[in-house]
C-alpha cells in the first residue's frame, strides 16, 4: 500500500491565542505522484497551509505527515524529503546561479560532485546555461523564477511545494516552468501547488482542493469536479460553489 505524500489530520492553527482559528479540525490527504493544486482567494489559508506543511509555522493541534513521517518528530528526515519553491525569491542575489546552487546543495547535504552534475542538468533544462555565472541580481523576473525553482528541485525531492511559482513571469517562461514541473511529476515527484493563475492550474493539476475560510469546499480531480458541478473551468466552479467570483470571495 502506497504511503500518502501528505496526510493532515485534525489540524488546528491560529496566529495568536486570542485570534480566530485559520484552520480547525482540518484534514487532507495527497497521494504520492499527484499534481495537487490548492486554490482559494486571498486570505483563504493557502500560504498558511503551505507554511504548516513545510514546517515554517509550528502547530499545536492535530498532525501532519510527510511520506509517512510526522513533521513534529522527524524534522530533519522530512526536510530532506521535500523541496520548496516559495513565492518570494529565496536565494542570494549577490551570487550567481551556480554559486547559489553550490551553497543550497551543501545545505541539502549533497556532495560537491553531485551538486555540480545536478546543477549542470538543471541549467540545461531551465535554459540558464549562458547566465549561470552571472550575478542573479541582474536577472529578469522570469530568470529569477527559474533559479528559485532550480534550488527547490536541486536534491530531487520526493515532494515539491510550489507557492505561486510563476507569479510575474511572461507567458513563454510560464510555459517552460509548467512543462518542467510536469516532467518532474512524470519522474515521480509529487507536486503541491498553489496559485492565483486558474488557467495555469487547469493545465498542471490532476487533483485540486478549493479552500474557503480555512475549509475545503471541493476536493477531487479537476475533471470530476467540473463534470459533477457542470462547469467548464475552475473560475466557474469557484463561483458556483461560493456564489462569488474568485477574486472577491
Amino acid at each position: 500500500m502506497n504511503v500518502p505524500a501528505i496526510k493532515i489530520e485534525h489540524l488546528g492553527f491560529s496566529y495568536d491565542r486570542q485570534g480566530g482559528k485559520i484552520f480547525s479540525d482540518f484534514s487532507l490527504q495527497v497521494n504520492t505522484g499527484e499534481r495537487f493544486g490548492l486554490f482559494g482567494p486571498n486570505g483563504a489559508g493557502k500560504t498558511t497551509l503551505m507554511s504548516l506543511m513545510t514546517g515554517l509555522l509550528p502547530f499545536n493541534e492535530g498532525n501532519i505527515e510527510i511520506a509517512g513521517y510526522s513533521i513534529k518528530n522527524n524534522n530533519k528526515t522530512v526536510k530532506q524529503y521535500f523541496g520548496f519553491v516559495p513565492q518570494d525569491f529565496s536565494f542570494y542575489e549577490e551570487l550567481t546561479p551556480a554559486e547559489n546552487l553550490e551553497f543550497f546543495g551543501a545545505w541539502y547535504e549533497m556532495d560537491k560532485k553531485e551538486i555540480k552534475t545536478r546543477s549542470e542538468e538543471l541549467f540545461n533544462i531551465l535554459q540558464l546555461d549562458t547566465v549561470k555565472n552571472n550575478q542573479v541580481k541582474k536577472f529578469s523576473g522570469g530568470m529569477k523564477r527559474k533559479v528559485n525553482l532550480a534550488i527547490g528541485v536541486l536534491h530531487k525531492p520526493g515532494i515539491l511545494f510550489l507557492d505561486e511559482p510563476t507569479v510575474g513571469v511572461d507567458v513563454q517562461t510560464r510555459y517552460e516552468i509548467i512543462n518542467y514541473l510536469k516532467l518532474l511529476n512524470t519522474n515521480g515527484t509529487t507536486l503541491i501547488y498553489t496559485s492565483h493563475q486558474l488557467s495555469e492550474a487547469e493545465a498542471l493539476c490532476n487533483k485540486i482542493a478549493l479552500i474557503h475560510h480555512g475549509k475545503i469546499i471541493a476536493f477531487d480531480s479537476l475533471d470530476k469536479l467540473l463534470e459533477e458541478h457542470k462547469q467548464e473551468g475552475l473560475e466557474g466552479l469557484f463561483i458556483h460553489l461560493t456564489g462569488k467570483p474568485f477574486d472577491e470571495a
Partner: protein, 426 residues
C-alpha cells in the same frame, strides 16, 4: 562541507559589497590617519609645533627683554611681536582673528617692579645675616599687575596652565638672578661674574624620566603608539554595521525562509558568519598596523612600533575580534530592521568606546563612570593592546584583560544562542 560552503557564500557576498568593504577597511584607515595626525601635532607641541603667542612689550627696561628672551628660548612658544601702542582691546581682537593661543602684555614698569622685588628680597636677606640692606620699595609697588596673559577661550585648561607655568618660571628666574646680583654687589661691591650667575641659577636637580612599563624594551611613546591600537579596536567593533545588518537582511529575505526548510541548523550560518567576520577583523588590524609601520613614516608621522610579543599581539587581536563579532551577532539577532541594527550598532559602539577610554582617557573619567568601564569590551581590548604596545608587556601581563574579554564574549554568545532558541531557529 556545509560550513565550508557557507563560509564561501559569506565571503563572496562580502567581496561583492564594495560599499561595505570601503566602510570596513578604508574608513578605519582614514580615521586612524586623521586622529594620529592631529594627536601627533599635540604630542609635538613642545617639539617642532610651538604654541603661537602674541607679545606686546610696553616696558622699556632691561628685565622685560630678558623675560621675552627667556620665553623665546624655552622652546615652547613661537612669539609674534606687536607694536607697543596697542590697546588691550586690540590685543584681544588680534588673538581672536589670527588664532593665537595666547597673548602676553608686559606693562611699562615690569622691569622696575621686578628690580624692586629683588632689592627687597636681597635687603631682607642681608638684614637677616646681620648686614645692612636696602629694603625700600621701588616706584611700582610689588604686587601690581605688570604682566597680563590673554588666552584664547578654545584652549584646554591644561594648555593654559602650561603656558602660565612657563611664564611664572621665566619671571622667577629673572627675579632670582636680580636678587643674587644685588646680594653679590652688596657684599662684594663689585658686579657678579656671569659665570657664577649662571652656575648659581643652573638647575642641578636634573629630572630623569622613567617610563613605567612591564617589559624591558624601551618604547618610544608617540601619537601612533597611542592611536593605532585604539582606533583598530574601534574599527573591529564597527563591523557591527556590516555584520549586524547582514544578519537582519538575511532574516528578512526570502533566502531565510528557504534556509528554515532545509535539513541544516541555522547555527551553521551563524558559525560561518563568525569565522568570516573574525577573519575580517584580523585583516583590518593587519592592514592598520601595516599602515602604521610602513606608511606613517612616509607622510611624516611617527612609525608604529610593534610589541615584542607578536604571538601575544595575534592572540589579543583574535580575541578582540571575536568579541567584536559576538557583539555584532547579538545586535543582528535582536534587531528587527537594518535601520535598527545600523543605528543601535553605531551609537552603542561610540558609547562603549567613550566608556572604554578610546576617546577620553579613562584616568580623567568621572569616578561615577568608572564602574561602567568594566562592561565595555572596548576597555578590555584597549588595556590589553596598551599593555603590549605602550608598556612593552607580554601575553601574561595582559592576562586579566583577556580573561575579561573571554567572559564578555561567552556572555554575548550565550545571549545569541538563547534568543535563537527562543525564536526556534536552532
Amino acid at each position: 562541507m556545509k560550513l565550508a560552503a557557507t563560509i564561501k557564500k559569506d565571503i563572496l557576498i562580502l567581496l561583492r559589497d564594495r560599499v561595505g568593504l570601503l566602510l570596513m577597511f578604508l574608513m578605519p584607515l582614514f580615521l586612524v590617519l586623521i586622529v594620529t595626525s592631529i594627536q601627533s601635532s599635540t604630542f609635538d607641541i613642545v617639539g617642532k609645533n610651538r604654541i603661537s603667542v602674541l607679545i606686546c612689550n610696553k616696558d622699556t627696561g632691561r628685565l622685560s627683554k630678558d623675560f621675552v628672551h627667556a620665553l623665546d628660548t624655552s622652546g615652547m612658544f613661537k612669539l609674534t611681536y606687536i607694536g607697543t601702542t596697542v590697546t588691550s582691546q586690540q590685543i584681544t581682537e588680534e588673538i581672536r582673528s589670527k588664532d593665537y593661543v595666547a597673548g602676553v602684555l608686559i606693562e611699562n614698569g615690569f622691569s622696575g617692579q621686578l628690580q624692586a622685588a629683588a632689592k627687597q628680597t636681597s635687603g631682607k636677606a642681608l638684614q637677616s645675616f646681620g648686614l645692612e640692606g636696602d629694603t625700600t620699595t621701588a616706584s611700582m609697588p610689588v604686587g601690581e599687575n605688570t604682566l597680563n596673559l590673554y588666552y584664547n577661550p578654545v584652549i584646554q585648561q591644561s594648555l593654559k596652565l602650561s603656558v602660565k607655568g612657563v611664564l611664572n618660571s621665566a619671571v622667577q628666574i629673572i627675579q632670582s638672578r636680580e636678587t643674587l646680583k644685588d646680594l653679590y654687589f652688596s657684599i662684594n661691591e663689585a658686579p657678579m661674574p656671569d659665570s657664577l650667575q649662571n652656575e648659581m641659577l643652573r638647575n642641578n636637580a636634573n629630572i630623569k624620566e622613567i617610563q613605567v612599563g612591564t617589559g624591558n624594551e624601551k618604547i618610544v611613546l608617540n601619537a601612533s603608539q597611542h592611536n593605532v591600537p585604539a582606533w583598530t579596536i574601534f574599527a573591529m567593533f564597527f563591523v557591527v554595521m556590516s555584520l549586524g545588518s547582514n544578519i537582519v537582511k538575511e532574516k528578512s529575505s526570502g533566502s531565510f525562509i528557504r534556509l528554515k526548510t532545509l535539513p541544516t541548523n541555522y547555527f551553521v550560518a551563524l558559525l560561518s558568519k563568525q569565522i568570516t567576520y573574525l577573519a575580517v577583523t584580523f585583516l583590518q588590524a593587519f592592514i592598520i598596523f601595516f599602515t602604521g609601520i610602513y606608511l606613517f613614516p612616509l607622510i611624516g608621522l611617527p612609525a608604529l612600533q610593534l610589541p615584542q610579543d607578536i604571538i601575544g599581539l595575534i592572540i589579543v587581536t583574535l580575541i578582540s575580534g571575536w568579541c567584536a563579532v559576538s557583539y555584532a551577532l547579538c545586535v543582528g539577532v535582536f534587531a528587527q530592521t537594518q535601520e535598527q541594527a545600523n543605528g543601535f550598532g553605531a551609537v552603542s559602539i561610540v558609547i562603549l568606546s567613550i566608556l572604554g577610554g578610546l576617546m577620553i582617557p579613562s584616568f580623567i573619567m568621572p569616578e561615577s563612570f568608572k564602574p561602567l568601564m568594566a562592561i565595555s569590551p572596548l576597555h578590555w581590548c584597549l588595556q590589553a593592546y596598551y599593555g603590549l604596545f605602550l608598556e612593552g608587556g607580554t601575553l601574561r601581563d595582559v592576562g586579566i584583560n583577556i580573561l575579561s574579554l573571554i567572559i564578555i564574549t561567552f556572555t554575548l554568545q550565550a545571549i545569541v544562542l538563547l534568543e535563537l532558541k527562543r525564536k526556534k531557529l536552532i
